[in-house]
Symmetry: C2
Subunit: 192 residues, 2 copies
DNA sequence: CCGCAATCTAGGCATTGACAAGTTCAGCGA
DNA sequence: TCGCTGAACTTGTCAATGCCTAGATTGCGG
């Protein structure tokens, strides 16, 4: 915060991550330039490499952090519907993480930290489905729930639902969708 | 196909597009290099620029073409459920287009061709919802259907559903999900 | 057959990611 | 307190890339 320039930055890793998240939020992952992040942090152009190895390493770290945050968020939700809400909230609250998480070409797939974090989030996702004991096909219902939440979040982030959702609270809007999935008889197909 | 080298390529635009789609399918949009595409087409490094202006122009053209293809695919489906199936089929059949379409930072947002194509696809999407006349909230149902299809397709493409879906035909798998949305009483929430 | 515009080539510049080698510094043991 | 060691950071460099400009080639309409 103070403008003192020491040889050692103090928390360059965090500073670079933070700057990268800013850039991604504004212009997407493709706009991330290692040298630019270094400039923003006030260090030399090669300094970030010491913390992340290379560009892919940085993006992998962001993805891993994202899965950790997602796992945390999911674990706090009581039932499946609220887990879906938490999923959407996470995506909107951490758009940069979310984008990078779901572009596998950007990461090092075999990174141990990433795999561990992804597994944690995955476990939380599965745990949510067990809330639905009485459902005939919990696996199908789980995929449906995840698809619904993921699709809604993605479409929101890509500005494809700006008019239909408008000023409405996205979490509330998602609850309406989830009710369609799990409240019996809410929707009838004409010819069925 | 033949190795004759003429000054004029003949269909460089198509060749560059096609090469770009190959690259995107294999390594994502960030791996697209204009100079590389030129090499693959056997032309000089600046030739593609004449057809697409710049990298963003190329990706914009791909997105526009994608929306055209999507609109075509949707228009052929009879009802809302099959329109969802068509949506998923499109995403799996044209993964490169799909990826680029839903990364707005990669296009020139104000491109007229893109806007027109997007509007066409959007209209087809809305048209599908009118199939559900008797539904209390068609708008909500429409968003739900789109979210479900989009989320399912995205998760499939990012290899997040490899185990759960496995060898099953994705189209069939999606029909199960869609039935959960629109077949009343298929799923019951315990405490409701 | 001419000329013109579309298509493509050639060269150059600034920027970038990655690498190698050197510099600064903080902490730790004797 | 001293000196050492390794982590954190800097400086310099290279190949590759996007984009720009100027020039060469060619097909096509008049």
């Amino acid at each position: 915060m103070s403008s003192e320039r020491t040889y050692h930055h103090g928390d360059l890793r965090r500073a670079v991550l933070s700057a990268a998240l800013d850039v991604i939020r504004a212009e997407g992952p493709s706009a991330v330039r290692l040298r630019d992040l270094a400039r923003r942090a006030g260090v030399s152009h090669a300094a970030p490499a010491h913390h992340f190895k290379d560009r892919t390493g940085l993006l992998t770290a962001i993805a891993a952090e994202g899965y950790e945050l997602l796992a945390d968020a999911l674990s706090e939700a009581p039932d499946l519907r609220e887990r879906g809400v938490a999923y959407v909230r996470f995506a909107l609250g951490h758009p940069a993480h979310f984008q990078v998480m779901f572009q596998p070409e950007l990461h090092r797939r075999d990174d141990s930290g990433l795999l561990a974090a992804k597994e944690r989030a995955s476990a939380e996702l599965r745990a949510g489905i067990t809330t639905l004991d009485t459902v005939p096909e919990p696996r199908t219902a789980g995929i449906a729930a995840w698809s619904l939440a993921h699709g809604f979040a993605t479409l929101l982030l890509t500005h494809n639902l700006d008019e239909p959702v408008g000023d409405r609270d996205p979490a509330d809007a998602f609850r309406s969708l989830a009710d369609l999935l799990f409240a019996p008889g809410a929707v009838q197909v004409p010819g069925k």
